[in-house]
């Protein structure tokens, strides 16, 4: 008799529990000890079953989140052209190919458009032996390569020019040349800014040819 009461209590307890599986059946023999009862008690299907997440749905959700994280990371690693400057100063720089107001790293075009190749003479009154220059691609990061030469000798290896400027040091007097090594498409477009005169030169170097910048000390 005690077993029967115990059994009833267990059933009531189970019925009041909110989390259970609808397909689970509880054998009376498992609950009651000693007394042999052959009936089984099926628990009623909960009303919220459809909202219960299955392990597979959880896996899908987890992998889906991982894929979105991958998407975010992939977009970070994919090379893309930065923000194009469309200001008046930028337009003026495109037509004149020089600018004293634009900073290093300014992007003028989203796609490569070859400007005419120019050579420049930079006269200055700096007493320093060396000066900094910054070189970058002012159009699309499409795989243009250049090499820098000072007085005919290469300083370092040829490198991929990106929208992010690369800082180099060159002598204040001498000949600086930028040699076009590889055209990623649409011409080898680059800009070089001289710290010496705070001027940026937007230029184009045909493959295998050079732009010359003659640095002179003004008397």
């Amino acid at each position: 008799m005690d077993d029967k009461n115990k059994l009833q209590q267990n059933i009531k307890k189970a019925m009041n529990t909110s989390r259970f599986h609808s397909d689970k059946t509880t054998s009376v023999d498992e609950i009651g000890s000693g007394t042999k009862l052959h009936s089984t008690v099926s628990q009623p299907k909960p009303a919220f079953e459809s909202r219960v997440k299955t392990p597979f749905a959880k896996k899908l959700k987890g992998f889906g989140i991982a894929l979105l994280v991958v998407f975010g990371l992939a977009m970070t690693f994919t090379s893309k052209t930065g923000t194009v400057d469309v200001s008046g100063a930028a337009n003026k720089a495109l037509s004149e190919q020089t600018s004293t107001s634009l900073s290093a790293g300014t992007i003028l075009l989203a796609k490569d458009e070859e400007l005419s190749a120019q050579d420049y003479t930079i006269a200055h009154s700096s007493n320093k032996n060396n000066t900094k220059i910054w070189i970058w691609d002012y159009a699309a990061e499409d795989g243009d390569y250049v090499q820098l030469l000072v007085n005919g000798a290469p300083i370092g290896d040829a490198f991929f020019i990106k929208n992010k400027p690369v800082e180099l040091t060159v002598p204040t007097v001498g000949i600086v040349q930028v040699k076009g090594i590889r055209d990623g498409g649409g011409g080898i477009t680059y800009a070089v800014r001289y710290d010496l005169n705070s001027t940026t030169y937007f230029n184009s170097a045909p493959k295998g040819e050079m732009n010359t910048y003659t640095l002179e000390l003004q008397q």
Partner: protein, 145 residues
Amino acid sequence: MKNFFGNVAASIYCITVILPLSLILWFIPIGILMEINSIVKSGFSGQNAGFTFLGIFGLMFGISMLVPTFRRIYKKLPWLYVYIQVFMMDILILAVGSYILNIGFEVQNQARHTMFFWLMIATLIISRLIMCSYYKFRPIKIEKE
């Protein structure tokens, strides 16, 4: 009625997005391997196309797994989850390898090229070993509801 519209939406997304992308998935690892080959042969770095594809596929498959309505696709085609997971892992490993090689080839220097080539090979092997061990302990299987 809600169920009907859900099924229609899931079917459209499956037919127009998931199945075509699943077919293209086959060609992406081959494409990345071809890109690696062209980088090594030309001596110049490429465009990191692997990451571009990884991003696009990650977004599209990610949406299908996160939106409950679209999750029905995987209930009907349970093999798709396994297929996508394995291919995405493969593409991720190859894209990382290709990215490393691209960094190395940004500067024209033979010693640097050789170093980054072997670094890429080591990355590919180690990543594959990690992937193998992961699936050894957590085997991937086609699951049914």
